[in-house]
Subunit: 318 residues, 2 copies
């Protein structure tokens, strides 16, 4: 069908699916051209299906005026980050969108374009979904599917006493990036704000994780919280040394300028949105920095060589 | 952990998961006690995984003051109805809930209790999900998984020219039931309102469908619309004879009292929420009534022996 013109009403649900979403199936037969009520996933011998689900609400998880193409890409990437931490290869996704009336056809096109860009970049198939209307804010839910070698998914709750606690990349950039995006922090290169706006799921670390990690999670709630989730799900404890925190150049410069170094380190390790991976492993793995150890129980955080109080927020949820 | 008391704050996210949702995994190892970011679905040789996703929004898909236990059961059942139409055996589900602040702990408990009741009745495992807050209305999304024998999922778009169009059970009770629930229609036995409030997914028809149906869909948007979806997805047309519509006793009594029989039949075949199954099959199947034929193209609807105009709503979406 032809595209909508300004003198025509917005396309109906079936036209929207045909125009916006069908191209995102990338011709995969299991999506049944989005003409069915269901998708059918054939067996893949030697692999388990790994499934994760995340919901985002405008005004809660992203700013109501964030560009919708970027929101779409972030939606896919936060789910891809979960797959990365599980050592799983991305496969496809189901999408539910609840649209407010204020989001017109061009807004929906921008959203679908973001899905198209990252669907291509990460080799993802749109497998199905549901599009409804809402009197409330834009609400998005993705169920993301990936493949892990049979029995090989890396769990959150399988850390072992004495494992090292490792983290990938650099920590704190997501939190600083949010402040930069809000204009509360200078960010001359734009590096920090970019890091917040568009997470980079660490799918490149899957092999290293599968080869050597006992347990892993992605760093979305903050390093202390997510490392805590690994320890707690494993019925064990955790010691973190924040002086070993891997920092980007702008984060190191920011830390240098803070009056209370321990407090600033605690902030960097509690702010979320890093989308790096924290894991427990007997040995340091390539691409990771050791920041602590798995202990028998409790949460111990050290900064500036002194124990600091991470607070309930760190242990539970940022 | 112990239950909340009135002098204590509401449980946090992790406590809510432990208290409300972990029991719904029914001990299934693939849910990883909801302690992980993902679930892992092992291979089941000889079966394909069938996945469907539906979203419900308060004020759009259910009434804001509907009892939440009933809303939870309806949420599962509308998804189970999709699986039934695909000939798939229910397996488990992922749940995303966006809660407004106005929904306190007892409301969330009532919702979880509804999930528990029907999770048990339909042998479903809660596999994972996400719980977020929203400034908008309660928004629910379920991704439901089922198993179909390899290659045996019944598709929507596989009808054949000359197939009979069959429908299960009785049609129109869902639409009349909504009117009864709103108090706009007498319903002395409560049968109609029950039918609207709590769909009965026709999982009992899976064997018959798998044995003899070319294509199928569930009747959620109305018989004309959903039969139309089957025809359209198959690149074929449809003739429906509404004088053959299977009716319940209360629906037949209602029809008897209407001044314009053809118009009333059209209304019954356009109202949604029946959650019966419409299929295309070379022969009539047990549990089904023939209401028409698959044709080469177009939509033809007959009522009272005369062609009637089903309107764009019937062909496209009720």
């Amino acid at each position: 069908m032809s595209g909508p013109r300004s003198d025509k009403p917005d396309p109906d649900e079936f036209e929207q699916i045909a125009a916006l979403y069908r191209p995102l199936t990338r011709g995969a037969p299991e999506a049944l051209s989005l003409l069915d009520d269901a998708a059918v996933i054939p067996q893949r011998p030697g692999f388990d299906l790994v499934i994760t689900k995340d919901a985002l609400v405008a005004g809660v998880h992203f700013l109501p005026d964030d560009p919708l193409g970027l929101v779409a890409r972030k939606l896919l990437r936060v789910n891809l980050s979960d797959l990365a931490a599980k050592g799983a290869e991305p496969y496809g996704y189901f999408l539910a969108t609840a649209w407010p009336e204020s989001h017109d056809w061009p807004a929906r096109q921008a959203f679908a374009e973001g899905l198209r860009v990252d669907g291509g970049a990460f080799d993802l198939i749109l497998l199905g979904g549901d599009t409804v209307s809402t009197p409330g804010p834009l609400t998005l839910s993705v169920t993301m599917l990936g493949w892990a070698p049979a029995g090989g998914m890396i769990r959150r709750g399988a850390a072992k006493l004495g494992d090292r606690v490792l983290v990938s990349g650099t920590i704190g950039d997501g939190g600083l990036g949010l402040r930069a995006a809000q204009g509360a922090l200078a960010d001359p290169t734009g590096e920090l704000a970019d890091r917040y706006r568009l997470p980079r799921p660490r799918l490149d670390l899957r092999e290293a994780l599968r080869a050597g990690a006992s347990a892993a999670a992605d760093v979305s709630d903050g390093l202390i919280a997510d490392a805590g989730h690994v320890a707690k799900a494993s019925d064990l404890g955790l010691r973190l040394d924040l002086d070993r925190l891997p920092l980007s150049e702008p984060a190191a410069a920011w830390l240098q300028a803070q009056p209370d170094r321990a407090k600033a380190l605690l902030w960097l390790a509690s702010a979320g949105d890093d989308y790096e991976i924290v894991c427990a492993a007997p040995q340091v793995l390539p691409g990771f920095t050791q920041v602590g150890e798995i202990t028998a129980s409790g949460l111990e955080v050290v900064a500036g060589g002194q124990p600091v109080d991470a607070g309930a927020g760190g242990w539970r949820h940022a």
